[in-house]
């Protein structure tokens, strides 16, 4: 059984169709990279998976269970699917530690001490050893994004979604975030990453999909994707960003 199964997904914003018959199956431990030009529907696509966006047609299953079925509570679904945003979206009024422990304490009802121990381990893992008591604004962009990853991991999700996690970062900070993501991938996390970091894609992706105009135009393992892209628009896109 696939970790995530997406069947004939169609979505409209008013009259405008953002997603056109999207089908995907992501196995446990698989890393899927999604790329494509701006406005092609990449964010909308991954945000449908944790229901930050609603969709009109099609079905998405997490481990065989329909995410829209009545017995699947939307908040529970979101504890199983972590998400990391382009703009980090850390809570500026809370310390790094509290950013990470908020959801485990409130949603999973984990005891505070336990949540803090886990949080400190996760912060250690993403390389933010001694910043736990600082506020987000006191950290660099790269550090903030790593905290955001730790915050998502604190819920012990089965799947992680990344929406252009390095696009808002200064170039010298991109690698520290990518390294954390590579680490996660090696540890067997199931990941769907919207990113234009093709070095990252080449190294850790199991499959790359190219979206344009709400459709998946190309889908291939990295070697094939870069060596002989079949679709001409993929070739044009790759030429532009490589």
């Amino acid at each position: 059984m696939a970790m995530i199964e997406i069947r004939s997904l169609n979505k409209w914003f008013g009259d405008f169709q953002v997603l056109k018959n999207v089908n995907q199956s992501v196995e446990k431990g698989e890393v899927l990279v999604i790329c494509g030009p701006s406005g092609s529907g990449k964010s909308t696509f991954i945000r449908c998976i944790n229901r930050l966006e609603d969709f009109q047609q099609g079905a998405i299953q997490l481990e065989g269970k329909d995410i829209k079925s009545p017995e699947m509570n939307v908040n529970t679904l979101r504890t199983e699917i972590g998400i990391v945003f382009q703009q980090f979206n850390l809570y500026p009024h809370l310390t790094v530690l509290k950013n990470v422990t908020l959801a485990p304490i409130k949603v999973k009802k984990v005891r505070r001490e336990e949540a803090e121990t886990t949080a400190l381990q996760l912060l250690d893992r993403v390389g933010i050893h001694d910043q736990a008591l600082k506020y987000p604004a006191e950290l660099s962009g790269g550090q903030q994004q790593r905290v955001a990853i730790a915050r998502a991991l604190a819920m012990r999700p089965k799947v992680m979604l990344f929406d252009e996690p390095t696009s808002a970062l200064d170039p010298e900070m991109i690698n520290e975030v990518l390294n954390v993501m590579k680490d996660l991938a090696r540890d067997g996390m199931t990941m769907l990453c919207v990113t234009h970091e093709m070095g990252f894609a080449r190294e850790v992706a199991d499959r790359i999909i190219f979206m344009d105009g709400g459709e998946i135009l190309e889908e291939a393992p990295p070697s094939e994707f870069f060596k002989n892209p079949r679709h001409e628009r993929t070739r044009a896109f790759l030429k532009e960003i490589l």
Partner: protein
């Protein structure tokens, strides 16, 4: 000049007949304003959040309340509650309670708009991050959105409080013993020192409001520093 009239009645201006009689004067004005802003905060918070709801049945009553009150003079509301109370409850409400009710209802509508603007001014990503991590709407509001937006709203709250402090003088019209009415009483009794009396009244209102606005300005600076830190 008859400043002795002011001097002899200063305690009456400041706290009325208290402690031998009922509280009045400036103290009563301040008590009305404090209770008023306290009540208005909770009503305004509820109405502001209701107006943000996507559910029409929740949103509509709040919208009607806010818009109707904002299009109504406070003085009229005061009359309303005063003369409506006997019809509604079968007995007159004491003037002070009746005035206080009008203050709460009136200021609540303005607080509601402050709350709504404060919540809307936060980046959308805050709500998305909170909901995306599994928090319910209520949890996201109470742990992520409101702590931030309430902090940003403090200066507007203080402004509303200053307005209300001045507006308590309208309670004079239904006979509440606050600063304005007590001053008028003294004036009617003495009627040789109206200028001195009303200069004193103006100065008293000014001192309270000025203290509040300077406090608000200091707070604003402090908050701006906080926000700058969080850019």
């Amino acid at each position: 000049m008859h400043w002795d009239v002011v001097y002899n009645n200063l305690d009456y201006f400041l706290w009325g007949a208290f402690p031998k009689g009922p509280l009045g004067g400036l103290a009563m004005s301040i008590v009305l304003a404090l209770l008023g802003i306290f009540g208005a905060f909770w009503i305004g918070l509820a109405a502001g959040l209701m107006r943000l709801s996507r559910n029409g049945f929740v949103r509509w009553p709040a919208t009607v309340y806010i818009e109707v009150v904002r299009g109504t003079p406070l003085l009229m509301l005061i009359f309303w509650f005063y003369f409506l109370a006997p019809i509604l409850f079968g007995h007159t409400l004491p003037a002070a309670e009746s005035a206080l009710t009008s203050f709460i209802v009136f200021t609540g509508a303005y607080v509601a708009e402050i709350v709504r603007a404060g919540v809307l001014s936060l980046p959308r990503g805050q709500m998305e991050a909170a909901r995306g991590s599994g928090l319910s709407h209520v949890q996201a509001m109470s742990h992520v959105i409101l702590p931030q937006s309430l902090r940003n709203m403090i200066p507007s709250f203080v402004n509303q409080f200053v307005s209300l402090t001045k507006d308590t003088s309208l309670a004079y019209i239904i006979g509440v013993d606050e600063l304005m009415r007590n001053a008028t009483q003294v004036n009617n009794r003495t009627y040789n020192a109206p200028t001195e009396i009303f200069i004193t009244v103006a100065v008293l209102y000014f001192i309270v409001c000025f203290a509040l606005t300077s406090f608000s300005r200091r707070l604003e600076k402090h908050i701006m520093r906080y926000q700058a830190r969080n850019r």
